[in-house]
């Protein structure tokens, strides 16, 4: 499983592996916001928590099909499926690799991007914490969507339609904790709920992903 994890990591970092694309997308989305809603710093400060969370979420979404597609196309996935490694272990390893190459960098990138949107001072630590805790959930839930749509040609849009509703609780708990920190309220309850959600996703989604892969591979 560790070998699979490091292999996926190496593949992502290679050129064409899509590593920087998610970050670039995140930056562009954040840049678009003032173009769309105006550059008034007070307004931007008000919506910054949500925008940063949505931007990170969408950037995660974009790289989801990589998780299984490439291996499916060249037959590696079939080989992996017949290996002694349980399929749920495979999906978990791949989801983790996705998080390290996407969610984690996005979490780090969110901090400087927060300055672009005039995010208030007290919110930064909570932005970082909520993204650090929440992005693994996005990867593991997203991996499920990727597993379901792996056999579908040009299934990117369908993948989004399936995964985005599943992202709603994560988005809510993540964004609410940051917003509460801005308003001077207690962000901890929301953060704890987010942590619970991530724990649930990390533990259970690999099994659902494995079931979906099995359906697609037979």
């Amino acid at each position: 499983m560790l070998a699979l994890f490091t292999r996926d990591l190496k593949l992502a970092f290679r050129s064409g592996g899509g590593f920087g694309l998610a970050l670039a997308f995140f930056l562009i989305v954040v840049m678009f916001v003032p173009f769309g809603v105006g550059s008034d710093l007070t307004l931007l400060a008000r919506i910054a928590p949500g925008i940063l969370w949505i931007g990170a979420l969408l950037a995660c979404l974009l790289s989801l099909d990589r998780i299984f597609q490439l291996d499916h196309e060249d037959g590696t996935l079939d080989v992996l499926a017949t290996s002694p490694l349980p399929l749920s272990g495979i999906t978990a390893a791949k989801a983790t690799a996705h998080w390290v190459t996407t969610g984690l960098p996005l979490t780090l990138a969110a901090i400087p991007l927060g300055y672009l949107l005039n995010l208030p001072e007290p919110a930064y630590i909570w932005l970082f914490a909520s993204l650090a805790i929440g992005t693994p959930a996005l990867s593991f839930i997203g991996a499920f969507g990727a597993a379901v749509t792996v056999g579908i040609k040009r299934g990117g849009l369908l993948l989004s339609l399936l995964v985005l509703p599943l992202y709603i609780p994560t988005l809510i708990f993540g964004a609410v904790s940051v917003i509460k920190s801005v308003d001077g309220l207690n962000p901890l309850p929301s953060l704890i709920l987010l942590a619970g959600l991530t724990l649930f996703s990390v533990v259970l989604m690999p099994f659902a992903s494995a079931l979906a892969l099995k359906a697609n591979l037979n």
Partner: protein, 240 residues
């Protein structure tokens, strides 16, 4: 005579074929009685005026919207465990009905909301949850349409239904948390259930029964369609 005998497509077609004429009559009757009674035979509400009459469409459609999904959950589970095609196809059949009911609930709610709340839409937890439900239905239907192999499609949509149900439930709590967490709870409680008032309660019950029967008959017809299509496809493969 076990219930599971009707998992056999032939038996299912037989039984449903016999049920549908009877059900059509019952459905038409209860819908007609319920809606006409509700529309013509009930007084205006002192607060909501005649708009209270919308309740006879709004509440039943909302109930079916939720229960259709629950039915899909059950039939999906049956497919995953017992591999009865009739069950998987019944789930597929129910989805568009559930989606339509969700849209009716959202639509009548929005129309009712304009004069009552001054707005067509509010991000009230209940409305938001219904909108999320509509999107879940869309995703489910889209997935069925994206996959050619019936068995693979049945598997994937069933798994999606189960996972989606968990997240739909989580979303319900998250949305409640979100709305009261951020703002003053919208004091728009459309859902002061008028059920308490007998004048509305009984016509409403008849309407609900009518909608339930409509759901049942539409699911039966649509499942029969799916079974026929599947059989035609397999025959076509053998004929060519």
């Amino acid at each position: 005579m076990s219930f599971w005998e009707y998992a056999n497509p032939v038996k299912f077609m037989g039984l449903s074929g016999r049920l549908i004429p009877v059900l059509s009559v019952l459905t038409a009757l209860s819908l007609a009685v319920g809606i006409l009674w509700g529309f013509f035979g009930t007084p205006d509400d002192y607060k909501q005026g005649s708009t209270v009459k919308i309740i006879f469409l709004h509440v039943p459609s909302a109930m079916i919207a939720i229960n259709a999904w629950i039915m899909m959950m059950v039939t999906s589970l049956v497919w995953l465990i017992r591999r009865h095609h009739v069950s998987a196809l019944a789930a597929k059949a129910a989805a568009p009905i559930g989606l339509t009911m969700t849209l009716i609930a959202l639509g009548t709610g929005a129309i009712w909301g304009k004069p009552m709340w001054g707005t067509y839409w509010a991000w009230d937890p209940r409305l938001t949850s219904f909108m999320i439900l509509a999107v879940f239905y869309l995703g489910y239907i889209a997935l069925w349409n994206a996959i050619e192999d019936t068995d693979v499609a049945a598997d994937l949509t069933s798994i999606l239904c189960m996972v989606g149900s968990v997240f739909a439930l989580l979303s319900r709590y998250a949305v409640n948390f979100w709305n009261q967490g951020l703002h003053q709870g919208a004091s728009l409680s459309l859902d002061k259930e008028e059920h308490v008032d007998n004048a509305f309660y009984f016509p409403l019950l008849v309407c609900i029964a009518g909608f339930v029967l409509l759901f049942v008959i539409l699911v039966l017809i649509r499942t029969r369609t799916e079974i026929r299509l599947r059989r035609a496809a397999s025959l076509q493969a053998r004929n060519t």
